[in-house]
Amino acid sequence: MGVLIRRNGIVLLMCVELMLNAVNLLFTAFSTYFQDSAGQIFVFFIMVVAAAEVAVGLAILVMIYRNTKSVDISLLDKLKH
């Protein structure tokens, strides 16, 4: 939900992380419930991906900030229609 109402790119990114965490929790719960370790392995991979994503995402944000001096996503509307 945070993704939907915040404009700050970094906070948006954090919200995405939050979402991933929620999914992680779900996986772990299922995993425990099923007595199946695959779920937890999956969580591990999600964490891997999340880390990679954050790295790239933050790099992009930095690049944007360097060019526009802002991380406000609603200012980005050069490309439309």
Partner: protein, 627 residues
């Protein structure tokens, strides 16, 4: 014998090709001679055929090849020379030949000389096809062909805009009739499975009565167009735009009688259909009266003759309507003689007057144009019905048949028309040839008699006009009615009692007396009292209506032409552009408009995109759960 048919038909075609293609490289005389000769050949063939038939020979049939074959339709390109055809052939080629000769002189100064002769030959060819065709389709072939030639010849002097319009009008009005004829032919096909004359006529008796009536009416519609009957008669006076020999040949002697030929040809069908015959009678009668009255007030020498032609054609249709087919053909013959004579005579006058056609500017021509004058006078007497010239006998016969075949009303109206005919013809004659010359000085000095190529046909036709009547002497004088005897074998005449002798004598005496009175009265009115017609605008009452030809053209203009023009604009500007194309364009534009609005969805804002995505997910979830 079949070869003679082919020779008769195709020599003029050859003449057309030769004079049309090579004409411009040959001298005018040679062209004229070639094309005249081609018609002469046809004429000779006609005489041979006539001889053959009148000696009791059988009808000659010539099959060329199978023209159209599709499904049930199979049409042979074949010709049939029976008595009716050969009779018509004689008139066409005979009068045609004379007119060809005449044209050599008349058209001598025209640059389109060779073209003119080519067209004339083409016309003769088409006309022969018309009368010789052995089925309705071949006849229609010729029928359209003569219409086309008529179009070409009326518009011969194409640089004049009015002439062009006249030509168009003629063609289109003919086409209206043609449509009727064409549909008639379709019905014939439907009913008899063929259009061959012989098959149809032998099967006519067993055909459905109503269908035959329908066929006859449709055929008559065709005849109305071609023979310039009410309501499609207005083209004929306008057709006078063509060169005068054309008027003589096509619009007096031959083509316009194609309608008569058609009805006479189908006499088997018409005899048994009362309704159609009545329609023919009524139309013919009304036309005869109306056209005659209009002719009184015309000032153009050729227009007077044109209306006279219309009126005389009406006469013939009356004869057809009462079932006296050979009588109608008899009148066709005599009419061909004297009307051709009159037209050629008027041509000679126009030639002398350097193209002037208005009788108000003529007068006193008899001194300069002696031969023309005499021949024209003979023609006038003939058409007025002075015994014993040709017109008397044929008209007299029609009157008698009408009286005995139908009744007193028709008789009286016809007689009245006859009187009016005499009046306008003598008006014409006196205004043209008597009194003072009213043209310009220049025209006066230019007045001259026409060359021999023109006067010889005049003389020959005058002779024919004088003696033509003896082909069908009424029972009063002879028991030998040649026309009736010759044609009676192919035409199914209705049975009409022979007129009594008292009737004949009465008609003879009355007509002579009446004519004498008319001649004197018109002479007094126009020559002695110098009542020269005034311009149309100043006339009042009935005269005005007559001068405006009963406003036929105007009515057609407002009732038919204008609405069609309006409809055309409406259909194009509104129906097509706005409505039909509008729908097409709207469906196209709809897409672009949709595109225009839909692209607004793509606002460029990520938050909004995310939101939209979630909305999409929700929508699908809902669909998923609900459905």
């Amino acid at each position: 014998m079949g070869n003679y048919i082919a020779l008769a038909i195709f020599t003029p075609l050859l003449g057309f090709v030769v004079s049309g293609l090579l004409g411009r490289f040959m001298s005018k005389n040679i062209t004229g001679i070639i094309s005249s000769t081609s018609v002469l050949v046809s004429f000779v063939c006609s005489i041979i055929l006539f001889n053959h038939l009148s000696n009791g020979g059988d009808s000659v049939k010539l099959d060329l090849y199978n023209w159209i074959s599709a499904g049930n339709i199979s049409i042979d390109f074949s010709f049939l020379a029976d008595r009716l055809s050969v009779w018509m052939m004689l008139i066409i080629t005979g009068v045609g030949f004379l007119i060809h000769i005449y044209s050599i002189g008349y058209m001598h100064h025209d640059e389109g000389f060779y073209k003119f002769f080519a067209y004339l030959n083409l016309f003769i060819f088409s006309m022969l096809t018309l009368v010789l065709g052995s089925n309705y389709v071949i006849m229609f072939f010729g029928w359209e062909g003569v219409g086309m030639c008529s179009y070409l010849l009326i518009g011969f002097w194409y640089t004049n805009k009015e002439y062009g319009y006249a030509a168009r009008k003629a063609f289109i009005m003919n086409r209206i009739g043609d449509l009727g004829l064409l549909i008639g032919i379709f019905v014939l096909f439907n009913t008899f499975g063929t259009t061959d004359y012989q098959t149809i006529f032998s099967g006519a008796a067993s055909a459905n009565k109503g269908t035959v009536e329908l066929i006859c009416i449709l055929l008559f519609v065709g005849a109305i167009g071609k023979s310039a009957q009410i309501p499609l008669f207005t083209w004929l006076p306008d057709a006078m735009a063509g060169p005068t020999p054309v008027s003589a040949l096509i619009h007096a002697a031959t083509m316009v009688t194609a309608g008569i030929y058609l009805v006479a040809r189908s006499s088997v069908l018409f005899v048994s259909s009362e309704l159609a015959s009545t329609i023919v009678l009524v139309v013919g009668l009304v036309t005869a009266v109306v056209a005659a009255t209009i002719a009184i007030k015309q000032n153009d020498i050729k227009k007077v003759l044109a209306y006279s032609t219309v009126s005389q054609l009406g006469y013939m249709f009356v004869a057809l309507g009462v079932g006296a087919y050979s009588t109608a053909l008899f009148h066709v013959t005599t009419h061909a003689f004297f009307k051709a004579l009159l037209f050629l005579g008027s041509g000679s006058v126009i030639h002398a007057m350097s193209g002037e056609q208005d009788i108000r500017f003529m007068g006193g021509l008899r001194k300069k144009l002696k031969i023309t004058h005499i021949t024209f006078l003979l023609g006038t007497l003939a058409i007025a019905g002075v015994p014993p010239l040709a017109g008397f006998f044929s008209k007299d016969e029609i009157l008698a048949k009408a009286y005995y075949g139908n009744g007193i009303v028709v008789f009286v109206l016809l007689a009245l028309t006859s009187v009016i005919t005499a009046i306008y013809m003598f008006r014409l004659y006196f205004l043209t040839f008597h009194g003072e010359f009213r043209g310009t000085e220049e025209q006066k000095n230019h007045l001259h008699e026409s060359p021999a190529t023109m006067t010889i046909p005049l003389v020959l036709l005058a002779v024919l006009s004088c003696i033509g009547g003896f082909l069908g002497l009424s029972s009063l004088f002879s028991h030998h009615h040649f026309v009736d005897e010759f044609l009676g074998k192919v035409l199914t005449n209705a049975h009409i009692p022979h007129p009594s002798e008292i009737f004949e004598i009465a008609v003879l005496i009355i007509s002579v007396v009446l004519l004498a009175i008319i001649i004197l009265a018109t002479r007094r009115y126009y020559i002695s009292n110098k009542n020269i017609p005034i311009s149309i605008e100043d006339e009042t009452g009935v005269e005005r209506i007559l001068s405006h030809k009963y406003y036929f053209d105007e009515i057609y203009n407002t009732v038919i032409l204008k609405p069609i023009e309006w409809l055309s604009r409406f259909a194009h500007d509104f129906m097509d552009r706005k409505f039909i194309d509008g729908i097409v364009n709207i469906s196209g534009k709809g897409v672009t408009v949709c595109g225009k609005y839909l692209r607004q969805l793509q606002s460029g804002n990520v938050e909004y995109y995310l939101l939209a995505m979630v909305v999409g997910v929700i929508t699908f979830l809902v669909i998923y759960q609900l459905v």
